[in-house]
């Protein structure tokens, strides 16, 4: 049987890892502003959303320590994102082909 998980059994993430993630986030922020400045027209929005997703991924993986969580939480996050994606895709298919 699975025992009740206690706080002290969860791995501690070092300060250095967090600072490294923060530096990466600031670099990505600079990149996203630069991308918006150089006007790649229709690609800039897509690139900026991709960069935002990388940033969100970093926050979820390290700050929210999803990296160290079990399959259930990871799977449910995927399910939530997939649901949202499906809703957006279905709505767009309705709007575009109306």
């Amino acid at each position: 049987m699975e025992h009740i998980q206690r706080e002290k059994e969860v791995p501690v993430i070092g300060y250095g890892t967090f600072v490294a993630v923060w530096v990466a986030l600031l670099i990505l922020l600079a990149v996203t502003i630069a991308v918006a400045r150089i006007h790649l027209t229709r690609f800039s929005v897509l690139i900026n959303l991709l960069i935002a997703s990388v940033k969100a991924g970093l926050v979820v993986t390290f700050f929210m320590h999803l990296k160290y969580e079990g399959r259930l939480l990871k799977g449910l996050l995927l399910l939530a994102i997939a649901t949202l994606t499906a809703i957006i895709a279905l709505t767009f298919s309705d709007v575009w082909y109306r």
Partner: protein, 203 residues
């Protein structure tokens, strides 16, 4: 009095899962607004681009740095309390609260600079604009407003965590409350990570 080695009797894992489940619902809640944004944006792309020129990229960028740094502070504060560094943890949580307040102050100036120009929901100036611009500013006020409300709630909750940490309720082996507060704060940060390019960088 509780000693530093006090262990929580609650189910740590269940509390954490509860917080994550709540955040999944929050994801879909904000997702609905992002859906609305993307649909109207695809329909009124030129108007959205024009209206976004009204946004102050410098203030938006500063606020992004502030929120990202506040996320770093609360993440480190959890590691600190787990290493028994109560003072450092309390200090970093205080820093997070201050940065949350700074974010809201900048937001206040952004909103008021628009309101002074007569751009606010249902204002005569706004109603004379094109439908796309009306939608852009409507979404801007609703989405940054609800996000700001989340920041405000976070500031209040983290303030309680400072009290709990300082009084020995949150300890090395009982930090569930602080960790779950951190999860919420990081989520609010993620929402802003998407709001920033969508409202400030699409000119």
């Amino acid at each position: 009095m509780r000693s530093g080695n006090f262990e929580s009797r609650g189910d740590y894992k269940a509390a954490k899962y509860g917080m994550w489940f709540f955040l999944y619902t929050e994801l879909l809640f904000f997702g609905g607004m992002f859906l609305l944004y993307s649909i109207y944006r695809s329909r009124y792309a030129p108007a959205f681009h024009m209206a976004a020129a009204e946004e102050n990229v410098v203030l938006g960028s500063i606020n992004t740095v502030v929120l990202l740094t506040s996320s770093l502070a609360i993440a480190i504060s959890i590691t600190a309390v787990r290493r028994g560094k109560v003072m450092l943890s309390t200090f970093l949580q205080g820093l997070t609260v201050l940065m949350g307040i700074a974010f809201l102050v900048v937001k206040y100036f952004e909103w008021s600079s628009k309101i002074v120009k007569g751009i606010y929901p249902n204002s005569p100036v706004l109603l004379k604009m094109s439908p796309g611009e009306i939608l852009f500013f409507g979404l801007y006020y609703v989405m940054t407003g609800i996000h700001g409300l989340h920041v405000l709630i976070g500031v209040v909750v983290i303030s309680f965590m400072i009290y709990f940490t300082a009084t020995g309720n949150i300890t090395q082996n009982n930090f569930s409350k602080l960790e779950n507060t951190g999860l919420y704060w990081h989520f609010v940060d993620i929402v802003w990570i998407y709001l920033f390019p969508l409202f400030y960088l699409i000119t």
